[in-house]
């Protein structure tokens, strides 16, 4: 598994930094809310 800390980041106007790529989660007709929730949960664990 790739270390999320190796992902480059952008600097926001106040100096805070944000990873340069994110995970889209907008409601899909083809993917269930449960699957999206699971992916969000995984993303949250990776970034914490």
């Amino acid at each position: 598994m790739m270390d999320p800390k190796t992902v480059p980041s952008y600097q926001l106007y106040n100096g805070d930094r944000i990873p340069c790529i994110g995970m889209g989660t907008f409601g899909s007709d083809r993917v269930s809310p449960a699957e999206v929730a699971e992916a969000v949960s995984g993303g949250k664990i990776c970034s914490s």
Binding site: M1, M2, P4, T6, V7, P8, Y10, L12, Y13, N14, D16, I18, P19, C20, I21, G22, M23, G24, T25, F26, G27, S28, D29, R30, V31, E35, V36, E38, A39, V40, G42, G43, K44
Partner: protein, 246 residues
């Protein structure tokens, strides 16, 4: 990061608290206004569906919604705030011109549709000048968007010969090329991901595209707006172009 849905513009704090509870976190890094107007439509509705209460964009309505998020950010100054940064979405230069001067806290980022056949170059330049980060949604051209949003004239970015040729040269899928292009443009792409997100992260750290490859992808712009947003139209509106000030 999460959004204030367009039926919650008059009660942003409740929306934010609900998100914090759902996400099981203490605060929101960046809270977005999902649409610049509060025109609600039901999930999965047809493109011909209209909300009779829908209204055209109003700088006053927008800044009132935005002000409510500013208050959630400013709380941080006196105690633990609920929101760290403010994001906006689906804006146009005309709408930005109408509201930016009225805001106390600048937006940190703006989410827009951005992919090789829909690059919104003027909007991105404007945002850069304002020090607002461009977040690109639908960065792959959304080939799995709902059937109701697919028209015969739509272009499928990832099937274009320029992209398949470059993908072959880099031994990867055209999706990865779309992400590399976005990153090298200074966008923050957010591909929909439920399974293969590690490959997306790797796109950011593996070999970049050459100047020639970037230039070739730049030529793919053709105004290919894949989801028009018809469901947000208000009574009396002409057509979806009016949503985008076109």
């Amino acid at each position: 990061m999460t959004k204030v849905w367009n039926d919650m513009h008059r009660d942003v704090q409740s929306s934010c608290l609900k998100s914090i509870q759902d996400l099981n976190c203490d605060y929101i890094d960046m809270l977005f206004i999902y649409w610049p107007f509060p025109n609600y439509h039901a999930p999965g509705c047809d493109v011909s569906s209209r909300n009779p209460d829908a209204k055209r964009f109003s700088a006053e309505e927008f800044t009132d919604t935005y002000r409510q998020i500013e208050e959630l950010v400013e709380e941080e100054l006196v105690e633990e705030g609920l929101v760290r940064h403010i994001g906006i979405s689906n804006m146009t230069i005309r709408k930005l011109d109408a509201v930016l001067g009225k805001l106390r806290i600048p937006p940190s980022a703006c989410e827009s549709k951005l992919h090789p056949t829909f690059q919104q170059k003027d909007l991105c330049s404007y945002l850069k000048e304002q020090n607002i980060l461009s977040i690109g949604y639908m960065p792959l051209g959304s080939p799995r968007r709902p059937e109701r949003d697919i028209l015969p004239e739509d272009v499928n970015d990832m099937q274009l010969p320029v992209l398949t040729r470059i993908a072959k040269a880099h031994l990867c899928h055209p999706a990865i090329i779309c992400l590399k292009w976005a990153l090298q443009k200074g966008h923050l792409p957010i591909p929909f991901s439920v399974h293969n997100y590690e490959a997306n992260l790797e796109a950011a750290v593996t070999e970049p595209l050459t100047e020639e490859e970037m230039a070739a992808i730049d030529t793919l712009e053709c105004g290919n707006r894949l989801v028009k947003g018809q469901v947000f139209l208000w009574p009396g509106a002409t057509d979806w172009h009016e949503l985008w000030d076109e």
